[in-house]
Amino acid sequence: MWFKFSILFLSSALVGQINLNFISHLSNNKLKAEHCFYLKSLAVNDTLNYHKAKYNLQYNNLNDLTDYLATKPQFFFNDSAAVYNTILYFFKNENQYLQNTFLNALDTTALTVTNKKLILNLVELDSKKHLILTNFLPNLEGDLQYYQKIKNKKPVLGAVLSAIVPGLGKWYGGQPNSAFVSFFSQAIYGLQTFETVKKFGFKNGFSIFSMSFFGAFYISNIFGTYTDIIKQKKLRKKNILINEGNYYSNFYPVSLY
């Protein structure tokens, strides 16, 4: 085994060319250390940078990949498999900086139909326009419609509604079950506080304790509504992207080499 490797390394160093079959073998068998060692042994040029980028993409070393993509490499964008796998990475993981670098440098003319469609999906979820449901997978329609409902909801308005009627803001933010729970818990605490104050007066220790207890929950409900609306938008969006990314990587896997 080591003898074969040494011969391949020596031959590549002597000839000065990249052995694509060997790289393909290393990549498909996930021989990470050998793959890295082989790429390091070669002289630096554009082709090698391209292979290094694919190596970084496969093993999620994203700092080097971001630097490489910032140079607008035509080699990389002409490779549909590399672009496809990069987009699927964005579907499954959130890395806004890398995603922006990739989209800014991207040459759309060289894209395949599938890649164009996937990028449209990725960008549409962020835009304020109505989603074009036919671009997405049919089994995600329910999730998409739900996301479309909540994506333009305003957290501040939700907080104000929660201040008027506890739970109303959560209902507005697309969390009806949480709204019911909040409303009833607040109602029970409120009634208890009201009865305590009515029976013992304001200056009683138990009344003060009840009022502070109710007050803390009331304010936390307002603040929680604000944070929950922001959180729900993120979770719903990620849910759609993860499902779609899983679907494509499971049913249409494309090898990097």
Binding site: Y97, N177, F217, G224, I242
Partner: protein, 129 residues
């Protein structure tokens, strides 16, 4: 139970205000479970000052709340969530976020979460998503 939990927290407001450090395990779990990548460079660890309320929360978790852990609706229980929120966001915001989870403790709340965020019948509620 909630009263005990709150009283323990309210006992020491001052000591918590200075605490700002990040529990590494939270991020490790988040990365493993929810396919979520987090920019760890943006988060700087600091020395942890002594915090009485943190120790009181530990006492609550180990001696009072031990038996109800298995039935908890959330992946991170209310007290643990509050502890981590306070550590990360500071006392006021963390305390309010913890209370918000505490009053959302009902199994019907699961229906409000997307399918990828419910694993082993528990809601994944890492403080950073």
């Amino acid at each position: 139970m909630h009263y005990v939990f709150l009283v323990l927290l309210l006992l020491n407001l001052k000591s918590n205000a200075q605490v700002s450090y990040v529990n590494d395990t939270v991020f490790a779990n988040a990365l493993f479970d929810a396919n979520i990548s987090i920019n760890t460079k943006a988060i700087q660890q600091q020395k942890q000052p002594f915090s009485l309320s943190k120790h009181l929360l530990l006492f609550y978790q180990n001696f009072i709340s031990e038996q109800i852990q298995a039935n908890c609706l959330y992946k991170i229980s209310c007290s643990e969530n509050m502890k981590q929120s306070i550590n990360y966001y500071g006392f006021l915001r963390g305390f309010l976020m913890g209370l918000n989870q505490l009053q959302n403790c009902a199994h019907s709340v699961k229906k409000d979460y997307p399918s990828n965020y419910i694993k082993n019948d528990k809601i994944i509620n890492y403080i950073i998503n």
